[in-house]
């Protein structure tokens, strides 16, 4: 599958083992990338997030912690802050919420994926990686049902396979791939600037 011309935004969800997995994926993003990338990675609560520090150094694209009411910038990686849900509002604009945890998780992968599917519909790529809970399964189903592209890390290659298995149980994914294969796919995402899709 080639993603060129197909994708306006990417959402990624991961839990246990997620930092290692993202260390394979995010450096593969090319400078000048067009779609923004939104990430929910479960971390222990009440610990200042160091994700931006970790990944900004490894990546060729800007890496930021998502701020409430910030307009989405192209080709930027946004991490959900600890203890808040990250959503996408019309604009598109980033939104945070302090609503109850979903699957004991805040931020929750489901919350991000479902709101992004509302905004980007069939132009969204959803990726579920390693993790030990089932957060993300219904989120990825929402991406699928809106006509977006879905990818799941091959469960036998995930540090914790439960998140991937739960997602695959709910809907078939467009691709089930190793991390290196997903990284290769991310390199086929559009560069900016590119002619806007006619609508």
């Amino acid at each position: 599958m080639n993603l060129a011309g197909r994708i306006d935004a990417v959402v990624i969800g991961a839990s246990a083992g997620g930092i290692e997995a993202l260390t394979v994926l995010l450096p593969a993003l090319s400078p000048g990338l067009r779609p923004p990338v939104f990430i929910v990675l479960h971390l222990p609560r009440d610990r200042p997030s160091v994700l931006v520090d970790i990944f900004a150094r490894k990546c060729a694209v800007p890496v930021r912690e998502a701020e409430d009411k910030e307009m989405v910038a192209p080709g930027t990686v946004y991490f959900a802050p600890n203890d808040y849900h990250l959503l996408v509002d019309p604009g598109p604009q980033l939104a945070l919420s302090a609503d109850d945890p979903v699957h004991h998780s805040r931020p929750s992968v489901d919350v991000l994926f479902e709101s992004a599917a509302d905004i980007y519909r069939d132009r969204l790529l959803g990726i579920i990686l390693t993790g030990a809970n089932e957060d993300g399964a219904s989120g990825l189903a929402a991406v699928h049902d809106a006509g977006g592209v879905t990818m799941v890390q091959r469960p036998d290659t995930a540090l914790a396979p439960h998140m991937a298995l739960s997602a695959l149980k709910l809907r078939p994914a467009d691709c089930v791939l190793t991390l290196n294969e997903i990284a290769g796919m991310l390199q086929t995402l559009d560069a900016s600037p590119t002619p806007m899709r006619m609508s």
Partner: protein
Amino acid sequence: MDAEVNPAVVTGREFDIEFKLLIDAIFHMYHYDFRGYAQASLRRRLKTAMSRFDCRTLSQLQDKVVHDSSMFAALLDFLTIQVSEMFRDPAYFLALRERVVPLLRTYPSLKVWVAGCSAGEEAYSLAILLHEEGLLSKTIIYATDINTHTLQKAAAGVYGVGRIAGFTANHHQSGARSSLSDYYSAAYDRAVFNKSLKDHIVFSDHSLATDSVFAEVQLVSCRNVLIYFNRTLRDRALGLFREALCRRGFLGIGAKESLRFSAQADAFLDFAPAERIFQRRPEL
């Protein structure tokens, strides 16, 4: 039984249209204005409500809500209830205690506004902090919310004892000068906060979307409320805070909220930026 909500049904164009119609219907029927709320969170809450009230579409939910005011009251709980904690983000309360309280001491009497108080955790936390600092006796805390049902719960000041351990840990980290257990009595599985705190808190119905300023205050604490508003409504709320605050009065907002991208940003100075405490510009 909960209805099985199919995301394909609720994320389409029909949902967008029905969403607007429902929000308008609630405004015209009940005068609650959600038109300036951030959409993604509101949509998510409405999807949860659809499932809970056994509705396959928002139109079905609208039918129930428009024709049955008790259904609206139930829906309002879904749209507004925010579970907080006492002394949530202890660093915020520590900064209030160490940096703001010394300036609050200089006023002969104090008025504090907790805007969007939900079940009252924040208002009681501030009352306890001010008591510890010897200021509560000259203080009135206005704790406001749009949900009268929630306000009743807040005024009762009753919380499950299961939550007390977390409250106590937060309180301790906020630089506590007393024990949290001094402020409540436990009965069975509930902790009831003391009347001595409640005597200094006025719980009342107020909407940041439609009401105006009601008092001059030295401190506004409004945390994790503005994230639910769009930019226009957020600016309206900040305008109210600016109007309510005395010169050099303080505004505290949530740990991940900011005044960036706001038309009201110039009205406030950074005071304790890491803890999201601002000060009204004296010259305005």
